[in-house]
Each structure stands twice: as structure tokens, then as C-alpha cells.
């Protein structure tokens, strides 16, 4: 099996409280926020490693990101990927999902492979569009299924996947080659081991630029993106923010008074209306 895992380095979601918007310049301040593997991409990588274990093959990691995130990719090698490529170029900056998949597809072409399976996270923590996987499938001309919450069966020809829906999941047969995007319900990602870190040193980790990919710069980056970011703002909560003082008994009574005044308590508590 030729398996490609798409990995996006993102600012660590656990540190987002440090992010603020400069009220004057309207620029996002994110000093001190580390870049990490997008949490769901760990699940995609884990699935790839498990499939390699049962069916054999090669797991390649592909990422489009600034050069400074190279160490994040090295971690995927330590976790068990065979090879990783960082697609990095000034020309890629500002890419929306369509421009991003043009770059990722060019990366796969440059490898000269026809992947049997491309695995992505269901969505990225910062972009959270969930679009990159399905759109990459269109450019590669293969099938796709998004928000997969379980893999019941994987053979070189097909996958039986659990497709997360609102009120449960559907079992879906997907013909390979295909792109699947995975939720966290799929597996429990393994942790890093010392041995893995040592082995990673011997594995190929490359950087390819727009020129290496032979990509038309007008098709990628800001100029190749059909969507544009307009204004960004941080909304005020608009809530009363009233802390009810006193002993717990008093606070509870004060709360019930407020809620009664606002008529938001059910008229007949305990009985469904």
C-alpha cells in the first residue's frame, strides 16, 4: 500500500488563550505559541501506521507549511512514517484550501506515485474547514469520504469506513484509491519512543519549493486563492457577567430570583412540556 498522510503544523490549540488581536493594527499576536502537529493528523498518521503493519507498504508524510516547521515533521518520522516532505515557498503563503490542494497534489505528482490511500485529519485546528481532504481527492481524480470515525476493514481494493453523521454513523464502502479524512474516534495515536527518535535520523526529510514542483505561482498562494480573508474581529461576549456573592445557599437563591425575573425557568420543572 502506498499511503500518504497530510499533516498540517498548527499553533498549539492548548495555547490559544495567548492569542490576541492588536486593537490598533488589527494584527493577530501569537507570540510564544508553539507549532504542533494538527491534533487530528496524529490520528491519520496512526491509522496509516496500523494499515502498513497489516498490509505492508510505505507511509509518506506531506505538508505545506513554512520552513520553520521542519522539526514538527521530524516528529512524524519518529512516530514511524518512512519519509516526509515539506512543501515550502514564499509563493504558497496565504493559500486557501483550493490553492493548498494544488500544492499538495503537485507534491504527490513529484513523488511519482499513485497513492492507494491518502489520509487527512477531518479538520485542522486553525483552519477547521475540513475541505482539504475532499478537494485533494478531486484533483487526484479519486474517491473521498470525510469525517470517518472508524475503519472496519481495509484491503488494497476497498475500505469499509464509519462515516460520522449527526445521529450516528453510516457504514460506507469506499473503492480505493481514495482520500479519507479521520476524526479522533478512529484510534488512539501512539506516543513517541527513544528508538523512534533515533531511527528518524536516518529517514528522508526533504523540502520542495514551487520551482521543484514546477508549479505556476499564479495558481497558488494569495493570487491562486478564490477566497479572501476580510476583516477579523474579536466579539465581546455581551453577557451580564454577574457573579452572585455569598454562601452557596444565598448564591443559589439569588440565581433562582434572577432566572424567575427573566422568566427563563420552565414553568413546571420536572415535567416535559
Amino acid at each position: 500500500m502506498e499511503i500518504v498522510v497530510c499533516v498540517k503544523p498548527v499553533p498549539d490549540p492548548r495555547q490559544w488563550s495567548k492569542i490576541s488581536l492588536d486593537p490598533q493594527t488589527k494584527v493577530l499576536r501569537r507570540e510564544g505559541v508553539e507549532m504542533v502537529i494538527n491534533p487530528l493528523d496524529r490520528h491519520a498518521l496512526e491509522a496509516a501506521l496500523q494499515i502498513r503493519q497489516s498490509l505492508g507498504g510505505r507511509v509518506r508524510v506531506l505538508s505545506m507549511a513554512p520552513l520553520s516547521t521542519l522539526e514538527v515533521l521530524r516528529e512524524t518520522l519518529a512516530l514511524g512514517a518512512d519519509e516526509a516532505v515539506l512543501l515550502s515557498d514564499r509563493a504558497f503563503a496565504g493559500s486557501d484550501t483550493l490553492a493548498t490542494v494544488r500544492v499538495l497534489a503537485a507534491g504527490i505528482r513529484r513523488w511519482g506515485i499513485r497513492p492507494d490511500l491518502v489520509l487527512c485529519g477531518a479538520e485542522s485546528a486553525d483552519g477547521s474547514t475540513g475541505q482539504v481532504g475532499p478537494q485533494l481527492a478531486v484533483l487526484l481524480g479519486i474517491a473521498s469520504l470525510s469525517y470517518v470515525c472508524g475503519l472496519e476493514e481495509v484491503t488494497p481494493e476497498r475500505v469499509i469506513a464509519r462515516w460520522q453523521m449527526e445521529e450516528g454513523y453510516a457504514r460506507v464502502e469506499v473503492c480505493l484509491p481514495a482520500v479519507l479524512t479521520l476524526t479522533r474516534a478512529c484510534n488512539r495515536p501512539r506516543g513517541i519512543t527513544m528508538l523512534g527518535v533515533v531511527q528518524a535520523r536516518g529517514k528522508p526529510l526533504s523540502v520542495w519549493t514551487a520551482a521543484d514542483l514546477g508549479i505556476d505561482p499564479s495558481q497558488v498562494g494569495l493570487s491562486g486563492s478564490p477566497t479572501q480573508m476580510g476583516d477579523l474581529w474579536m466579539p465581546e461576549s455581551g453577557r451580564r457577567q454577574e457573579i452572585l456573592p455569598g454562601k452557596p445557599e444565598e448564591a443559589v437563591q439569588a440565581l433562582l430570583e434572577r432566572l424567575r425575573e427573566l422568566a427563563v425557568l420552565p414553568e413546571r420543572p420536572g415535567r416535559k412540556r
Binding site: 486553525d126 475532499p134 457504514r171 451580564r240 427563563v264 420552565p266
Partner: protein, 329 residues
Amino acid sequence: MTALWVLAEQRRGLLQPVSLEILGRGRELADRHGLLLEAVLLGNGVETLAEDLFAAGAEAVYLADHPLLADYSADAYAAVLEQLVREHRPDILLLGHTAVGRDLAPVVAARLETGLSAHVTGLEIDERGLLRQIVPAWGGRGMCAILCPQARPQMATVRPGVLPRPLLQPGRTGRLVRVEVALDLAAIRTRLLDFVPQETAAQPLTEAEVVVAGGAGLGDREGWHLVERLAEVLGAAVGGTRPPLDQGWIGEGQMIGQSGVTVRPRLYIGIGISGEMQHTVGIRDAGVVVAINCDPRARIFQEADFGIVGDAREVVPLLIAALEGETRG
């Protein structure tokens, strides 16, 4: 006249509420900016649904009725949508951000090489006639407007439960356009085998008038029981944050927030919840928000109308007792 299209998503012959929500907002935009509001309906034997779409404000319904459209597949649905868009060139194409919408929309947008925004919570048209697609940014810490200046159609998937439901006007009619589709089974590469429903909560969270939600602060299953008891006394639906989902205290459909559902009850009570934005984006439209947390600096208090600083194990039983006393008295 340019057209604003809405994909009317149906499953087993039932329209998804979000499709009507989008039509409602679409009607307002169409009236204000002189657009045609049209719906696209895909399925098999679903013609009667067109009436509901007219009642919600659609002036025309494009109906593609075909056995291979009975169940959703990205391949079949995208092929039909692409064909229709290329033929009629709508200016805007909106879908619900449902399991189907989030799977289908990116495929359609890539095939049409146009822009797409996701999780949209607001739609406006600016002075240039461009669709401003309002999306949460940074897990809900911020908001951002997305534009698609050149490529067409301007596409977006809209979060369910955010736009108000329109008043239906039964008896309003429109133009029903039957569409010929040629679909080839061999070109459909995904096949729905069966559906496994989740244990459903007693009350659907997204419809509930009162929601009691709990977080990691409940500590264990016993602590969680307080959430369930309070919900019972209030006749409320139960929701939670991610840790309770991880612990198995709640099901997938009960997580509130960015990766979960949006709720808009009259009253939301959050217990042992820190108030990370990924959670609070899901309660923006709640009427009154109450927070109970032992940490006075917890961010949830900034997102709450009323807060009680205290241990859930102490405060919640008092609240339950007070409410029970009320019903008796």
C-alpha cells in the same frame, strides 16, 4: 437577474432544518438585493418536498429525481450539482454544514474551481454585491469575514441552528424545474451500506429550551450524575464539553461547541466548564447563560450572565433541592 441557490438537503424524504434556515436568510437577502432565490432538490421520489421549499421562500426548485440519488454519495451528488451550476450559473450556492454538506461542498467547489467557506454563522451582502461569509476564527476567539471576489459561484456551508427558522407560508408557489440527469453506477465510488444510530438522548439538544451542560470539573461518573439530576428536575437536555465525551459520559451528538453542536436554549447552565472558546462558540445564541465553577478566574464567567463560584458537588445539590422545593410548594 443573478440567483442565490440553496441545496435543499433531504434524508429519507425529510428536509434538513438547516436548509429552511438558509432559505429564510436567503429570502431576506434576495428581497433586499434583488436576487432570485432558488433551491436544488436531489433524491428519489421527493417531489412533494418542493412545496415546503416554496413555502420557505424559494421562487424555483430544480428537482433531480433519480434512483442513484436516493442515498447520498459525493460522486453522484457533485456530478449533478456541477452540471446544474455550469448550466444556470448561480452567483451564490449555499449548503448546510451537515454531514452531507461538509462532505459534498468541498468536492463541488474543487470541481468548479471556486471558493468555499465552512461553518458560516452569518451571511451579508456588501456594497459591491459580494457575499460576506462570517465564520468563527481561532476556535471561536474571533470572527472573520470571508469573501470570494472573482470565482463563481460564491459557496458556503452554513452551521445548523444559527440562522433563525423562517415562517413558512403554505400555499406560496413557484416554478418546478425537472432536471434530466445521466448517472452511471460505475462512476460512484462510495456506497452506503447501512446506518447505525447512536443512543439518543431523551431530548434533542439542539431543540431544547433548557440545556444543562457539564465539563471535566464534575470529576467522575458520580459527579456527572449531578448534571443529569439537575437536567431531570428542569426538564432540560444534557450536553457537555470534550472531556465528558472522552470519558463516555455523553455521546457524540451531545458535545457542544466548535466540533459539536450549536445550542440556543432560553437557559443554559454550565457546570465545571472552563469556558474554552471551542465550547462557548456553541452557546453564543443561548438566551441566559449560567456558570458554576470553583475557579473565580475561569473564562466561562466572562461568557456568562450569572455565575456562582463554588464546588459543583455543593452548589448543584442545593440548586436541585431549591427547584424541587419549588415544584412541591
